[in-house]
């Protein structure tokens, strides 16, 4: 099991250069059965990350480009009347895949957004009175472009909560970027990526994450962090219990990636910014500077 994980990470690092932390977080997110939101400008490797993940883990990949005129049926699928069989036949939409890249999710109308988000939460789709389960594992990587904010429908806070983690890729370090420029063809590199795992193995890894021990002392720490968000004057609201659960699950996945049998406070700290940053709603900035996730980590003592 350990070997499988480290091989996966090694393979991914060949394609995604200079981003070991983000890569591991994305993997942890997948293993924790959560969904990932990436907020970044185009061209920093969001699609590559999604493609590489799907390829290495041996999962089926679909990409949906969200636009203003995208309809829910375009995502979920539609029943079409076939004259040959004289019956309606369901054409599954792109959502029926194991890894989905929902590009620029904030460009679509709220109706379409919520169709995707509901599918993410329920892991099934109800169309025309029939409930169709989505494949397992099911992992959505959504991206938001923070730069062009014209004509977009920002995800409401309640929807943001559905994503386990929110990452920002950022520019690669100079050395990695140099290596990137030196490479000949990235498409072939992706195609040559070895398939390390398959869907069944991914599911067993996900089961392994749930087995990672979280002792009472650690739960106390998570609780203290959650409480701190609720008591901080710079935040409008504290985070929800769902956020606490998400933090625990993400920390378990991180500990699993690190090959540890139990979750350490270090693991919680490693995933905390990715899990919390998009859930912290600043209060009136004029009165109190809203804290970043790192400020909270520095302020809350480990019990």
């Amino acid at each position: 099991m350990k070997a499988a994980v480290s091989r996966t990470v090694d393979a991914l690092e060949q394609v995604i250069l200079g981003k070991p932390q983000e890569l591991r977080l994305a993997l942890a997110c997948l293993l924790a059965q959560g969904h990932l939101l990436i907020e970044d400008v185009p061209g920093v490797g969001k699609t590559t990350l999604a493609l590489a993940l799907a390829r290495v883990l041996g999962l089926e990949f679909q990409r949906i480009q969200f636009t203003a005129d995208l309809l829910p049926a375009d995502v979920l699928g539609v029943s079409v009347f076939e004259s040959g069989s004289n019956a309606f036949r369901f054409h599954p939409g792109p959502i029926f895949a194991q890894v989905i890249l929902a590009d620029e999710i904030n460009r679509a109308s709220p109706k379409t957004q919520s169709a995707l988000l509901e599918a993410m939460e329920e892991r099934q789709v109800s169309i025309e009175g029939k409930t169709r389960p989505l494949p397992a594992p099911f992992f959505v990587i959504a991206t938001q472009n923070p730069l062009s904010q014209l004509g977009v429908f920002s995800l409401p806070e309640s929807q943001l909560d559905r994503f386990l983690m929110c990452l920002s890729m950022g520019y690669p370090p100079p050395a990695a970027e140099r290596a990137l420029l030196a490479q000949t063809d990235r498409r072939s590199l992706l195609a040559e990526l070895p398939c390390v795992l398959d869907a069944a193995q991914v599911q067993s890894l996900q089961a392994g994450v749930r087995e990672v021990t979280a002792r009472p002392a650690l739960l106390d720490y998570i609780l203290a962090l959650v409480q701190a968000t609720r008591e901080h004057a710079g935040l409008r609201h504290g985070v929800s219990p769902r956020a606490g659960l998400a933090l625990k699950r993400a920390a378990q996945a991180w500990a699993f990636l690190m090959g540890r049998p139990g979750v350490l406070p270090e693991d919680v700290q490693a995933v905390f910014p990715a899990v919390m940053d998009h859930r912290l709603l600043p209060a009136h900035a004029a009165l109190h500077a809203p804290p970043s996730a790192r400020d909270l980590l520095a302020a809350v003592a480990i019990p």
Binding site: R215, A217, P261, G262, V263, L264, P265, A283, A301, I302
Partner: protein
């Protein structure tokens, strides 16, 4: 501009603010003119109508007009806009008008500050127990409101905490300030004289016996039940007949009005000879805004109370105007001789002077007596007998007297009270060629049924006569006693044996009723309050503190700052102690804590720092300990966060061993040589 939630005033907050304003202003309603109370009520009503019915608030023009009206009203009522009364009146009005233009949280803060100030203004008028109790309640309320405003601002209105919690916090804050209050009360230097030189109008409400005496002056006082002073005798009190509390001595007479000659030349000491045993007493004098201290006759010139002098007529005077309650210790000699040796010529002339055309019938009568009785003492007796033998009666409602008051009183109306008797008696004596004068002050007093205080009220005001006899000096003669001995024996109540309905209501009540008892208890409580708190002025403070070894202003201020610093340090220490980390429950954490404490000099433990990061920092400074640190850390992490296993004991031992080794290594000053 967008309106944020912080700008909108919540209804409940406003209602509470208005309630508090009413609470704070209520006692002032008894003091300010009626039109002002009405204007305040209009402002409050308007704001309430706006709140409940949406009635629009006044526009700029109306607000300006209201403000001008308030100023004008105050100016017309008091003749100016500054000073204690007009200033307070203006403040009350402005606070009420502020209600009409409150829009934002900032306005609420202004109101809170105003409310604190309004609370304070009450002390300019009253320092009774009820005032202090009332104001304590309102201060808790105002502080609660302040807490609420700030909580709302900090949490953006989201934390809908109940107002009770805010009030509780306000109460806690006020309670926490109490020790500070005690220290400031005891040690803050008392300023002699009224607070911050209260403006001149503070003296406008003079009370007590007047500076001059014309018919009717004392009758007004007799209807006043206010307490003039309280007395506690050390030892056995003298008899009621001896209780003459000496005030001003009047020697000048214009046929109707008695007053004192203005003093010219340096003050002279009285020529006084004391006899018998002295009486020591403690006196709690209410503020009279005058100088007279009303000492029991006759004050001992050798043991004068602090800040007082005895003038040549034996009147005990304060050196400065009495503007606050004063506690003083007096020594008095019930038997004494004043001016026994001789009366100077000028003084003799003064005390024989009579207006030329005054009281012809009286003069004729007295001159006839004089011819029959050459002995001075016998003449006095004859005059007193005159009062006894004729149908004189003691009444608070004497008939009006015309241009010759003494003649009319003696021969026609024959009804009056102490000042009529004293005045006519002195005129008779002067007509007979005996130097005589009028003394006013208080007579008697009532022993409180609770405690052993004596209470002397304004209604005990009295006037009596003094006649100078060769070899004996000034002899006190009380003609009222001749007519109504009960007035002197039993106090004022005794003078009215028949219920004629002229006795003031408060004297008519039966002393045994529950009401009288509770009133006595309340008086007693007030007396204790005055004695222990209000009388604590400059003199008492000096006396009290010098008994504790604190002398002088410098030391007082040093102690004040020292004690306050100590108090604050104590609070800080308590907070630190309360906030200290609880000792960890499990063995692994205890070992780890030991290690962290031992390494505290190398690296401090940051609150949110995980063991890995901490070990990293420590190992960077002490590279030779890295392996041991890793061992300790792994064992600690496995024990604390790893899955529970059977090897717990072994791991704990491993941790303890590693920690012991590390602590030993850390205690060594220098790292061991490499290799």
């Amino acid at each position: 501009m967008t309106v944020t939630t912080a700008d909108v005033l919540p209804r409940a907050l406003l209602l509470r603010l208005i309630g508090l304003l009413v609470l704070v202003l209520a006692p002032h309603a008894l003091r300010v003119p009626v039109w002002e109370s009405a204007l305040v009520a209009v402002a409050i009503g308007w704001r309430l109508a706006h709140l409940q019915r949406g009635v629009p608030l006044p526009g700029r023009v109306i607000k300006t007009l209201l403000t001008i009206a308030a100023f004008a009203g105050v100016y017309v009522t008091y003749g100016r806009v500054n000073g204690q009364h007009p200033g307070t009146a203006l403040l009350v009005l402005m606070a009420a008008l502020k209600l009409l233009e409150m829009r934002s949280q900032r306005d609420v803060r202004v109101m809170v500050a105003l409310l604190y100030f309004l609370v304070f203004t009450h002390f300019l008028f009253s320092q009774e127990i009820w005032t202090v109790a009332w104001l304590l309640v309102t201060v808790v309320g105002v502080t609660g409101l302040l807490v609420e405003v700030n909580t709302r601002a900090a949490t953006g209105d989201a934390a809908g905490r109940a107002w009770r919690q805010h009030w509780r916090l306000g109460g806690v804050i006020v309670a926490q300030a109490l020790p500070l209050m005690v220290v400031l009360f005891l040690l803050f230097p008392r300023i002699p004289g009224p607070l911050w030189g209260l403006p001149a109008d503070a003296g406008s409400s003079r009370s007590g016996v007047p500076d001059s005496m014309s018919p009717g002056d004392i009758a007004e006082l007799i209807l006043n039940e206010a307490i003039a002073f309280r007395v506690r005798f050390e030892g056995e009190p003298p008899g009621q007949r001896q209780l003459y509390w000496r005030g001003p001595v009047f020697e000048r007479y214009d046929g109707r009005r008695w007053d004192a000659y203005p003093q010219n030349g340096p003050a002279r000491a009285p020529s006084l000879q004391t006899l018998g045993e002295p009486v020591a007493l403690e006196m709690m004098l209410e503020s009279t805004r005058g100088f007279s201290l009303f000492g029991l006759e006759m004050s001992d010139p050798a043991a004068l109370p602090a800040g007082s002098r005895l003038d040549e007529n034996g009147q005990l005077l304060a050196l400065r105007r009495i503007t606050e309650r004063r506690l003083l210790r007096q020594q008095a000699w019930p038997r004494y001789r004043l001016d026994a040796r001789a009366l100077p010529r000028w003084h003799r002339q003064r005390t024989l002077q009579l207006p030329v055309n005054s009281a012809p019938r009286t003069r004729a009568l007295v001159q006839q007596w004089r011819a029959e009785t050459p002995d001075d003492a016998a003449l006095i007796q004859r005059a007193l007998a005159h009062f006894r033998q004729h149908p004189f009666r003691y009444t608070l409602r004497p008939p009006r007297l015309g241009p010759q008051p003494v003649d009319e009183f003696l021969f026609t109306t024959q009804a009056g009270f102490c000042e009529h008797y004293a005045s006519s008696f002195v005129v008779m004596m002067r007509a007979a060629g005996l130097p005589a004068r009028v003394v006013i002050g208080y007579q008697g007093g009532a022993r409180s049924p609770v405690g052993d205080d004596w209470v002397i009220r304004q209604s005990d005001a009295h006037a009596w006569a003094e006649v100078w006899l060769a070899g004996e000096g000034w002899r006190r003669v009380d003609p009222t006693a001749a007519v109504s001995p009960d007035r002197i024996e039993q106090g004022l109540r005794g003078a009215f044996d028949t219920a004629r309905g002229e006795l003031p209501a408060f004297l008519r009540r039966d002393g045994s009723t529950l009401w009288a008892m509770s009133r006595a208890r309340w008086d007693f409580l007030n007396a204790q309050w005055n004695r222990w708190f209000l009388a604590y002025g400059p003199e008492l403070q000096q006396a009290f503190l010098s008994r504790l070894g604190v002398r002088g202003w410098t030391q007082m201020l040093l102690w004040l700052t020292g004690l306050i610093t100590a108090l604050l340090l104590l609070v800080a220490a308590w907070l630190l102690w309360r906030g200290r980390p609880a000792p960890p429950a499990d063995a692994a954490s205890r070992s780890w804590r030991r290690l962290q404490r031992a390494a505290a000099r190398q690296v401090d433990a940051r609150p949110g720092e995980a063991p890995t990061a901490w070990c990293q920092r420590l190992a960077d400074r002490q590279p030779h300990l890295r392996a041991q640190l890793d061992a300790a850390r792994t064992a600690y992490q496995a024990l604390r966060y790893g899955p529970e296993s059977a090897q717990t004991e072994a791991q704990q031992q491993q941790l303890d061993r590693a920690v012991r080794g590390l602590i030993k290594a850390l205690r060594r000053r220098r790292p061991p040589p490499a290799g």
